[in-house]
Amino acid sequence: MQERLALTLLVLIASGGGNVACDGGNGDGPAPLPDAGPLSCPASAPTLGTAGEVTTESFPLTFDETGVAAVDVVVPEDLTSLALVADDGLEFTAFWRVAQDGRIWIDLETDPDGLRTPFFHTWNHSASVIFPIHETSSLAPGCLRIEALSDGAGVGATLHVLARRRAEGGTLRVDLVQVGATELPGATLDALALELETVVDATGLPIAIEVATASVDGDPFPRAEGDIALALRGSYRPADPNRVPIYVIQGFRDELDTLGIAGGIPGANGVPGAASAGVIVAVDAHLTEDGEVDVLLMAETTAHELGHQLGLFHTSEAEGLDHDPLGDTPECDADRDSDGDGTVSAEECEERGGRNLMFWVSGDFSQRELSPWQRRVLALSPVVR
């Protein structure tokens, strides 16, 4: 089971897929993270962020002879969330180890396939992690050692650190970016923007959402896998780096039936142009029999992928065996599979997360619920400012 999950994760991350199978689960509580030895930062290590603000800082990644680049920073008392992005152009990157005094948060050496809850971290283009991603993954004050890897030359590789030193809240700013000659039959980008705002508002997020529209030149039929999709994510660089791009394409050339993909869980947010920055959604996969776009369906897809991009996993996976790491999301287990088809549908799980925005499959009803901690993860995102 774990091998299959690992392969799934690796392939999806490789394709920029923001859909990752989750092991562990909130029924058993998060798996314990291994202890680390004593850790102290050198006196020159910078303290992250600015009190009362959300900031982005960048550090050059200098790889040693073993291929690891280490950065030591100090986590202040008032840090509420932190996002790390290891950016090396279109290359795969990963965090080899992220540790504090007495605690290892991420350890690729013992978990190379990213199977360990709550981060499920492994290689990705512009690999990213956020703290907290669940109830007990807030960073403690003190030294934080970040060790990164790159599959490329590593020249010009950068660690981006987004630090929030204020309470949750603010505005999530999203851009619907029309790619090339992409058309929305029977709809407009503005209509999609309105519907997306409506869907997100309905989740009860304690933040505002602002959706704008934009356009970029590009192929409206990129491949879901490969350089074109990666380059697409590099094509839009808004003046405000904290705007999250949602690339609206006509369709994927290779995966006809893909509705949308996120850059990762989380993707590289706040780093415009990074290879996992932004979500891609396909218009044609949201057409109805009359040939027009189902705007509501497309808005729900977009909101779902945005949830992945900002750090949310599926509450329950298809077979009802795997669940997200959050303790307060409803779990729909395999025993709810009343028709015996091997999967738990939204309808079978209506009272157990089937109405959650992050359920694995759409249902015969709207899915706009989020648990308090799902809302908290989103509201604490360092791109919410």
Partner: protein
């Protein structure tokens, strides 16, 4: 720099996706952020419309479970349709689990009748593994229809395992002239590969399917609803 200390951790099998198309990274940008005032107006209009036409909401909602209950749908089609509505491709049923004749009949129904074209597309992609005459007839009918490109492209994929006979060649030649790359590219590739084969093995050219008559000839060429 690669991870020399931990070579097993490098995603070497995925490196093919890591080429650097630097020219693409400077793709020109033409941002056109539009006014929030316009969107505020649109929101107001949408709200008014919603109030005036309350049924619009249900008509546009994802609640369309009755869709599969349309006349003629094989029993159990609705449950299969729900599985084909997975948000991610990896969660779709695998072809090998849908070889039961009843499942294939359900897929054929969905491929032509489901309200969402993504469900039709997924049904057609799954039918690529079914060589039955019924499926062949359906696929040709979809290819001949005026369905949106995403559906016809899926039908084209469903022919990949077929012998390239005259009736398929006709469809491929037509698809190759389409402007949509999801149709044109695979059609051109198949025709190109066939011409290479023809040149080296002339006897293989235009091999005829056992059912020489085009099953689509006797069927309504516009099956979409």
């Amino acid at each position: 720099m690669t991870s020399k200390r931990h070579p097993s951790l490098r995603p070497t099998s995925l490196r093919a996706t890591s080429l650097r198309p630097t020219s693409l990274r400077s793709t020109s940008l033409s941002t056109s952020l539009r006014s929030t005032a316009l969107r505020s107006t649109l929101r107001l209009v949408a709200l008014v419309l919603a109030l005036l036409t309350p049924t619009w909401v249900s008509a546009q909602s994802p609640a369309e479970g009755a869709n599969a209950a349309r006349q003629g749908a094989p029993e159990g089609t609705e449950a299969l349709a729900m599985r084909l509505r997975a948000r991610h491709v990896r969660d779709l049923p695998r072809p090998e689990t849908l070889r039961d004749p009843a499942d294939l009949a359900r897929l054929r129904w969905l491929a032509e009748h489901h309200r969402w074209l993504v469900v039709r597309t997924r049904a057609l992609l799954l039918l690529a593994h079914d060589p039955s005459p019924d499926t062949r007839t359906l696929v040709l009918r979809v290819l001949d229809s005026t369905a949106p490109a995403i559906v016809r492209a899926a039908a084209l994929r469903a022919t990949e395992a077929w012998a390239l006979d005259a009736m398929l060649r006709t469809r491929l030649e037509r698809a190759a002239r389409e402007g949509d790359p999801r149709l044109a590219e695979p059609a051109r590739l198949r025709l190109s590969a066939a011409s290479t084969t023809d040149a080296t093995h002339p006897s293989a050219a235009d091999s005829t399917h056992p059912s020489a008559a085009d099953p689509a000839d006797s069927i309504n060429p516009s099956p979409t609803d």
